[in-house]
Amino acid sequence: MRVPMLMSIAVACTGKEPADSGGVPLEPLELSGDPAASGVPVGVRTIERDGVTIELWYPAPDSVAAEAASPVDFAGFIPASVTETLGDLALPVIGTTAVRDAPVRNAGEAFPAVVFSHGFGGTRLQSIDYAEHLASRGYIVAAADHPGRMLGDVLPCLFSPPLEGCDLTGFGADPALDDVAVVVDTLDVLAEDGFLSGFVDTERLGMSGHSAGGNTTGAMGDIEPRFAALLSMAAPGAPDRSVPTLLMDGTCDGVIPTEGVDEAFEALPAGQRVRILGAGHLAFSDLCTLELGRLADELLAGRDDVNEALLPQLVALGTDGCPGVVPTVVREECVDAWLPLETSEPIIRHMSTVFFDAHLKGTGPGVQAGVFSGVEVE
């Protein structure tokens, strides 16, 4: 029973009253037995540290439930060079439930933390539903921007010559490893003397990521020994050491073939495999909301200054798995359309929650087969 031991060590180590507990009443986590169901209200803060922008989601008091959450607007991620060329992209906003700068919930316990690393063409805010869901179920979730593979790095590369800001260096060495190290360091600092003091247990850390962020997850699993559970989504990212690892993807992913994830799973020292039949690459993010495929069609079709060699590849990164786009993978379950996001979302919520619950909280049965039809579990 390793996890309860870690919990007791953590209490002994931190051993301090939550920083804000004076004004915040004790509200234990009371969670639905359905792991896919949202839990308590969620707060969110953005902090800068060592030049890294980090979003933190956390359990908040019931009292903030009535407060308005502000939707996420990706306009701030679009470089000026792109809007000067294409005009305002008028990106749809992504709905959220998190309340900005809310206090942290005083649940009488320190929460484990899960780090998230975004993929190529994403941002720290690309998988809001995933982050908010885990936070609502009693986790601190931390995600950093990774310059070198952000949406704003990719968009200028759609043009020939590329516009200012084009940066595909994330195709080479992983630019996120240093960022994730800063995130972990930040959690340590905030646990010691910040708004998370007494609220976060940095001896119980999970690591997760999507696409290129899944590869970052596998690599960080070998770099940071405190990562006690790794969740790699739509990626073959796997550690060399033996640590609980879950590889979860969609079988109609046209960006990262599911066969490659199968190969990584075969080589895993300790792990499980979840295949969501029919899901595509972006099912593990909220990027489909941005309708980047429609934008590409509308804004780029009539232009002659587009980099035709790169465009199809970069468009696939922003559309694979989205409604209204046709899968490119040839499999029985991939004909005409991907699995609806409304169907894959509760599966992803469930699997990520039971995985981290089992390995970071020591509760629940973990990832099991038979919960959903259309999902293969090994």
Binding site: C157, S160, P161, P162, C166, D167, L168, T169, G170, F171, G172, A173, D304, D305, V306, N307, E308, A309, L310, P312, Q313, V315, A316
Partner: protein, 208 residues
């Protein structure tokens, strides 16, 4: 369907040709500007020209606004270049080098690609490529928006893992061992992983 190029926009001709002219080998071209900035970029309008002298040709299409790409400017300035064939494993770095960085930045540095200095010509090449050639420019052919560079190969490099022996004990490249990858249309690349011999058909009339 008969298609006349005059009826198509340039980018649609590009899409037609790159989807039909397949598979194309990829020339990962290493060049250096007169100011000493290294550049690396992939080109798939690429062919062998002849064996005596050994020569290859790459075609560098200008940006739609007519500006030359750094590769073309560098070859015109220095009259040398290298051509490397990337392995499938080097695919991400190769694609990452396709966008084009500002002229003052080196793809080698930005993408973390090991730079190997030419043995014979002063031009860089990427480490780890299974097959590479150092070239001296012998002819430049302007074809509309494209500039074709014909280079004489003055040094070949074959990675140990891809080295094999021909019938006379001569060095050849083990095609399977080099993990070659070809460019096809759209976002796709084609690994060369299934090799066949083409023999007379087993039934029916034999050839004349």
């Amino acid at each position: 369907m008969r298609i006349l190029p005059d009826d198509l926009r340039v980018k649609h001709i590009y899409q037609l040709m790159t989807s039909g002219l397949v598979p194309r080998p990829i020339a990962w071209a290493g060049t250096r500007s007169a100011d000493g900035i290294d550049n690396l970029a992939p080109f798939s309008y690429f062919m062998g020209v002849g064996s005596a002298p050994p020569s290859v040709a790459i075609s560098v299409v200008s940006h739609p606004d007519g500006r030359r790409k750094d590769t073309a400017s560098n070859i015109l300035e220095t009259e040398v270049f290298t051509v490397s064939l990337p392995s499938l494993e080097q695919g991400p770095e190769m694609v990452g080098s396709a966008a084009g960085l500002p002229p003052e930045q080196s793809e080698f540095d930005a993408l973390g690609i090991a730079l190997v200095e030419g043995d014979v010509v002063p031009a860089p090449r990427p480490g780890g490529a299974p097959f590479a050639m150092e070239c001296r420019l012998v002819q430049t052919v302007e074809v509309g928006h494209a500039t074709m560079f014909i280079g004489e190969v003055v040094c070949f490099h074959v990675a140990e893992a891809a080295l094999s022996t021909g019938r006379d004990g001569n060095p050849v490249v083990d095609t399977a061992g080099m993990q070659a990858v070809g460019r096809v249309g759209g976002p796709y690349y084609a690994p060369v992983e299934h090799l066949v011999r083409i023999m007379p058909k087993p039934t029916g009339k034999a050839g004349r």
